[in-house]
C-alpha cells in the first residue's frame, strides 16, 4: 500500500481522477435530470478531436478537449434544439462532424509526429501517464464548475423540472441550457483527460444514473453520485496498479477497471432500488392486512 501511494504517477492519477469523479458526478446529475445524456455522450466523443489536435500542435490536452467540447456545445445550441427530436438530430449531426475531425487529427498525429499511442490515450485515456502540470488546471476546472453550479443551483433544477415554470419565475431556460452545456464541456474535458474521450460518458452518466435511483432529493443524488464516482476511480486506480502483479507483468488499463466498477455499482443500485420498492410495497400490503378485521 505504501509503495502504491508513494508512486509519482499514482499520486497524479489519484488527484486528476478525483477531479474527474467530482466534476462528472455533479454535472452528471443535472445532465440526467434534464434528459441530456445523449448530448453529454456526444460532447465527450467530439472532444476527442480536440485531444487529437493537441498532440499535433503541442498544446495542453485539457485545453484541446475543452475547446472542442465548447465548440460542439455552441454548435448544438446554435443548430436549434427546441424539441426533443430536433435536439437528438442536432446532437447526432455535430457528433458525426466532430468524429470526422477526430479521424483526421489522429491520422495526422501518426503520420506527422512521432507520437505513438495517441489514438489509444485520446480515446481510452492513460491516467498513469498524465503530466503533473495538468493537476492545477484540473483542480481549477473543478472549482469553476462547483462555483457556477452552486450559484445557479435552483434555477438549473427548476429548468430541468419544467422550462415553462422556470420562465414564469423569471429564469431563462435558454441561458440555463447554455450554462449547462458550458459546464458540461468542462466536465467532459477533465473526464476525457482521465479515462479517455469515449469512456468519459461512463463517468458522467453512470454514477448519476445509479444515484438518482437511490435519492429523493437533488442534493442527496449529488452526494451518492460523488461517492460512487470517487469509489470507482480510486478502486480502479488501485486495481490497475495491482493488476501488474495479477497478470504477471501485464497491467490492465485503469479506464477498464473504472468503467467496469461504475457498471457494477449501477447494477447494484438498480437491483437495490427495485428490491427496496418491492419491500416497501410488501410492508404496506401487510400493514393493510393487519388493519383489516
Amino acid at each position: 500500500m505504501f509503495a502504491f501511494l508513494s508512486s509519482q504517477p499514482v499520486q497524479t492519477a489519484l488527484i486528476v481522477g478525483s477531479c474527474a469523479a467530482l466534476i462528472s458526478a455533479l454535472i452528471g446529475v443535472f445532465t440526467v435530470l434534464r434528459g441530456n445524456a445523449f448530448a453529454g455522450h456526444a460532447l465527450a466523443d467530439v472532444s476527442s478531436a480536440g485531444g487529437a489536435a493537441s498532440f499535433l500542435w503541442g498544446i495542453s490536452p485539457l485545453l484541446g478537449f475543452l475547446g472542442m467540447a465548447w465548440i460542439a456545445a455552441f454548435g448544438m445550441e446554435f443548430l436549434g434544439v427546441r424539441k426533443a427530436r430536433e435536439r437528438d438530430l442536432a446532437t447526432g449531426i455535430v457528433l458525426g462532424a466532430g468524429l470526422g475531425l477526430s479521424a483526421l487529427f489522429l491520422y495526422l498525429d501518426v503520420t506527422t509526429t512521432s507520437t505513438t499511442g495517441a489514438a489509444v490515450s485520446v480515446m481510452f485515456g492513460s491516467l498513469f501517464a498524465i503530466s503533473q502540470g495538468l493537476i492545477w488546471p484540473a483542480i481549477l476546472a473543478v472549482l469553476a464548475v462547483f462555483l457556477l453550479v452552486g450559484l445557479f443551483y435552483r434555477p438549473l433544477i427548476l429548468t430541468a423540472v419544467d422550462p415553462d415554470l422556470a420562465t414564469l419565475r423569471g429564469v431563462s431556460p435558454r441561458w440555463m441550457g447554455l450554462l449547462q452545456l458550458l459546464v458540461l464541456g468542462l466536465a467532459v474535458a477533465v473526464c476525457a483527460l482521465a479515462i479517455g474521450a469515449v469512456l468519459a460518458t461512463a463517468l458522467l452518466i453512470g454514477p448519476a444514473g445509479a444515484a438518482i435511483r437511490l435519492s429523493r432529493r437533488p442534493a442527496q443524488a449529488i452526494f451518492w453520485a460523488m461517492l460512487v464516482a470517487l469509489t470507482a476511480v480510486w478502486l480502479g486506480i488501485w486495481m490497475a496498479y495491482e493488476s501488474y502483479y495479477w497478470f504477471s507483468g501485464n497491467a490492465w488499463p485503469v479506464s477498464f477497471f473504472v468503467v467496469a466498477l461504475i457498471f457494477l455499482f449501477y447494477l447494484l443500485a438498480m437491483f437495490g432500488s427495485s428490491w427496496h420498492q418491492k419491500y416497501q410495497r410488501r410492508s404496506i400490503a401487510s400493514l393493510r392486512r393487519l388493519q383489516e378485521p
Binding site: 446529475v29 435530470l33 434528459g35 452552486g150 450559484l151 445557479f152 443551483y153 435552483r154 434555477p155 433544477i157 427548476l158 423540472v161 419544467d162 415553462d164 415554470l165 422556470a166 420562465t167 414564469l168 419565475r169 423569471g170 429564469v171 444515484a211 438518482i212 435511483r213 435519492s215 429523493r216 432529493r217 437533488p218 442527496q220 443524488a221
Partner: protein, 273 residues
Amino acid sequence: MTNQSPILAVADLSVDLGGRSILRDVSFDLYPGQLCALIGENGAGKTTLLRTLLGLITQRAGTVRIGAAPAREHRELVGYVPQKINFDPDLPLRTRDLVRLGLDGQRLGLPFFDGRTRYAVDQALQAVGAEDFADQRVGELSGGQQQRAVIAHALVRKPRLLILDEPLANLDFGSANALVDLLGRLIVQQQMTVLVTAHDMNPLIPVMDRLVYLVDGRAATGTVAEVVQAEVLSKLYGYPVSVLHHGGRILVLPDAPENADVANMNRCAGHGA
C-alpha cells in the same frame, strides 16, 4: 364586488402564431374572488390565450392588464398550473422540493434550511391537502396528486390570480370533483381569483361565476345564463346550435340541417309505408 377594479382585464386581444390567426378580438374582465372558466374545444385557442396572459406569447393587437399593469410586469401576481408535466418516476425531487422551487427557484446560491421558507411551503402543501405525500418523490404520485403538488408550487408565493390549464383532463370523476371543491375552497379561504380552462363546462358549473366561451379564436363572455344560449352560441359558431338542459347539466349540440331533416323524415315515412 364589481365596483372593485378588475384583477385581469383583456381587451381586443388578437394573437397570431406562425402566420395563422389563433385569437381574434377577445375581451373579458375578471374581478377578485371570481372563478372564470375558459371553455372551448381542442384547438379553439385556450392554451394560446393562457400563454398570452402569462406573457409567454406576444399578442398582435390588444392589451392584457393584470392588477392594472401590463402582464409581463406582474408575473408575481399570477400562479400558473400547466396542463401536464411529465415527471420522471426516477426524478429525485420530493413534493416539498417542487413547492419550494415555486418560492425561491429563481434565487442564486444553495437552498439552505430556512424556517420561514419551510413554513410557507407547509402552508401551501396544507392548502391543497398534500401533507400526506409531501416527502414522496413527485414522479411516484398519481396524476391527481401531481396536480395538487403543482398547484401548491403555484400557490406558495400567494398569487392573487391562479391560472390552471385543463386541470380536469386526465382525472377520474372522483379526483375531478375533489379538484373543483379545492378551487372553490381556495377562492373563499385564500381570497384567490381563479381562471381555469376546460373543454367540458359541466363539472365547473357549481363554482363558476363567469365564463369565456371560445370558438375558433373568438369569444363570448358573461355568466352561464348570459352566454350559454342558443342565440349567442349560434352566432359564435356560425351555424345553428341548440342548448339542452338536463338535471343541472348543459349540452351544446349543432342543429341537424333542415334539408337533412326533411330527407330523413321522408325516408322514415317511406319505410313505414
